[in-house]
Amino acid sequence: MTKNFFGDTAVLLKRSLRHIARSPDTIITTAIMPIAMLLLFVYVFGGAINTGSDSYVDYLLPGILLITIASGISYTAFRLFTDKQSGIFERFQSMPIARSSVLWAHVLTSLVANLISVVLVVLVALLMGFRSGAGVLAWLGVAGILGLFTLALTWVAVIPGLTAKSTDGASAFSYPLIFLPFISSAFVPTDTMPGPVRAFAENQPVTSIVQAIRDLFTQQPVGTGIWTALAWCAGILVVAYAFAMATYRRRTS
């Protein structure tokens, strides 16, 4: 079984990438909402927000990148659901291929699609005046954190993709994920929030991930915060992966 895993995953990955190449609107729509938020917050609200940093776009970008990924992964659930619905999923399952390659192909496709969306958003941010003195290592660090975050949320997306009864159901789960950054330090510092909200904001995954990326961009020492961020990503990844695989096995037995 495992001897074919990489080959089969590569063949199926090529198939999903063709889907993306033939419907680039899925990438553009993924990038448009975060770009609109970026414009809105930098040019409309930003002037009234005191973050203690010189440039609001520099402060905002890490959170916007997380929103981009949170909205991008809903297409993974959608694509998986469509495959299941059309019967092609069962065709693959009845063929002599490594079974988990069907899921991995979708997961890797999600990484590629989100990478493109994230690059688009970063380019727009650069046009809007985003600047970072970060070196190659720091950029690689940012890419690594975003990649891990994408991987974790993608495995979360696999669960509704496999279990949903309708297209709407398959993608609706991502809405709360998109709004999670609002109750964090992504848009405004948490100091002005009332007690319980502040406690939630400071202890949810988005704040530590945003802070780690921000520190890397602004060449601050990342301290222990980055370990909290990585632990959140890894934790979500492991739990989501276990649930997704259990769901997958239950569906296919």
Partner: protein, 267 residues
């Protein structure tokens, strides 16, 4: 019996929650024959097919396909079969040719391109090869679906209601493809709710009713189950099917894949 059987099923049972779909199904399918599993909607036909193609785990009973046990040797079973499901399992966004190449690659075959081109030719899809499947008619889609199932020549083929939802002409195309399969020595297990389909294609017919096989035999044997025919004289009226084919013509149906099949254009 079991040594020679391509498919051997004994005591197969499956329930969904409280609902017993299969209550002990037994049958054998000889190598190279066409076996029709006849039953109304909800009789359990798809559940039998899914159990045999390792997509579902039965609650009780044993089944083997091409000599391999579906429970203990699922990988070998999957090497031996192909499944053409109830709904055409084709990739809408890929072209016809890309669909065939995809399956050939997943079956780890040499030269997927040539395999795809040969099948496109055989199923009259060469002209449509470079078009997205989403532009295909129902009949073309089903033909592509069956073509995908033939890749790698698996010795056992499951066809789950292959003609449901097809127009009469597309239906004949599928029948033609199924007959050709059996001529090449492939064992075919076909499920259908159409009596004439079973009559046309199958060497043996089993009727699945409320989760059990209630009869199993050749068409001649089944006909003997009811009292001998009485001779009656009736006026032979053309059926609507006769009229339809007289008007649209049923020749050259493999050469013209993209033709519009609607009745409105025929007069």
């Amino acid at each position: 019996m079991t040594i020679d059987s391509a498919i051997h099923v004994q005591g197969l049972a499956k329930s969904y929650d409280e609902h017993q779909v299969l209550r002990g199904v037994d049958f054998d399918v000889a190598r190279g024959s066409i076996f029709a599993l006849l039953g109304s909607n909800g009789a359990g036909k798809t559940t039998v097919v899914k159990s045999l193609s390792t997509l579902l785990r039965p609650d009780a009973g044993t089944a083997s396909v091409n000599g391999f046990d579906v429970a203990t040797q699922p990988a070998e079973v999957r090497e031996s079969i192909s499944l053409t499901g109830q709904f055409t399992a084709v990739d809408e966004i890929l072209t016809g040719r890309e669909n065939l190449v995809l399956v050939a690659q997943l079956r780890h075959l040499e030269d997927p391109g040539t395999i795809a081109d040969d099948l496109l030719e055989r199923f009259g899809l060469t002209d449509a090869a470079a078009r997205k499947v989403s532009t295909y008619s129902g009949g073309m889609r089903r033909r592509l679906d069956i073509a995908m199932s033939l890749i790698g020549n698996p010795p056992v083929n499951f066809l789950d209601e292959p003609t449901t939802g097809l127009d009469p002409e597309a239906r004949l195309e599928v029948w033609h493809a199924v007959k050709e399969l059996a001529e090449h020595g492939t064992t075919v297990l076909l499920t259908t709710q159409y009596l004439d389909e079973a009559e046309q294609l199958a060497d043996r017919i089993a009727i699945l009713h409320e989760g059990r096989i209630i009869v199993n035999g050749t068409l001649a044997e089944l006909k003997q189950l009811i009292p001998p025919a009485e001779v009656e004289y009736i006026e032979k009226q053309p059926t609507l099917e006769d009229v339809f084919f007289a008007l649209v013509g049923d020749d050259d149906k493999y050469g013209d894949a993209g033709r519009d099949r609607s009745l409105a254009t025929s007069n």
